[in-house]
Subunit: 172 residues, 2 copies
């Protein structure tokens, strides 16, 4: 943390820049790499839909920067970097595809939960700071992240079955 | 990822060892450091209660290792390390205490959400693998992590108010 934190507004600013960095990295690399590694058409479709949503989330963050007068900037964060690197690890180390999809979903859940924590904090801080004009923007993105996580869990039900059948047949 | 992943059982094993590592690090350092840095008596009490729960979660994981015959071992994970280091950063860089508490809650939310993702995956995999004897143990810990996250959010409502009042009075 290099900036001086003297008020809740400063904390809000730091978290906002983390979120902006996070969404940018997901749009630029994180989600495209997961889409490429996914084999299940349903998982690819869900990730592609979430990529479109993530573009919308970036533009909401743009609006938050404008509305609050906070300088539009990213703040890199080792947490997201490590979560994305774990996803890359799954993609490159697991050959069989239903199993790789199962691992990608586990990685995807971690991305979503990291973002749920981020947006949850941003909503709470914005409420407390009286930034009513940005609360609903942040709440909308929080809702989308929760839905994306639930969608992954729903897909896992089918994909985990395929992953088990595959490993059984590999042992025959 | 150094082990060969050939079936869902292997993925379950990896995630289980991540969870064991995570709970151990939280018991040994993560939670005690947050408790020491927290100023609000309510936040300290909540973190102390969660430390006790975390001991219980470790012992549930011990039972999962025994029941599945998976070798009891930890698997270090850079994600948790970075989340814990962010919490340490908050504790050491923010002097004023209600504000530091607000930052610690944001860090705590990230820990809880990381664990919610981990246990969620473990429950789904255990269900699919037919490990009925361990599903309820993992579900119990998942429930506790969600409750710990909700408790932090509840405390944030009061602590964020104090953090704002403090930064206003600091400007007078």
């Amino acid at each position: 943390m290099d900036m001086k934190i003297e008020g809740l507004q400063d904390l809000f600013e730091v978290e906002l820049k983390y979120a902006y960095d996070c969404e940018q990295k997901l749009v630029d690399k994180g989600l495209p790499e997961m889409i490429e590694a996914a084999q299940s058409p349903q998982l690819r479709t869900a990730l592609q839909q979430h990529l479109r949503e993530t573009h919308g989330q970036l533009s909401r963050l743009d609006q938050v920067f404008s509305a609050t007068g906070i300088e539009r900037d990213t703040k890199g964060n080792a947490i997201l970097k490590e979560i994305m690197s774990a996803a890359k690890d799954s993609a490159s180390h697991i050959d069989q595809s239903p199993l790789r999809d199962a691992a990608l979903i586990a990685n995807g859940n971690q991305v979503e939960h990291y973002e749920i924590a981020l947006y949850g904090t941003l909503v709470a801080f914005a409420n407390q700071l009286g930034l009513q004009n940005v609360v609903s923007l942040l709440e909308q993105s929080l809702k989308e992240e929760k839905e994306a996580d639930a969608k992954l869990n729903q897909l896992a039900q089918t994909i985990n079955v395929s992953a088990t059948q595959q490993s059984r047949s590999a042992r025959v």
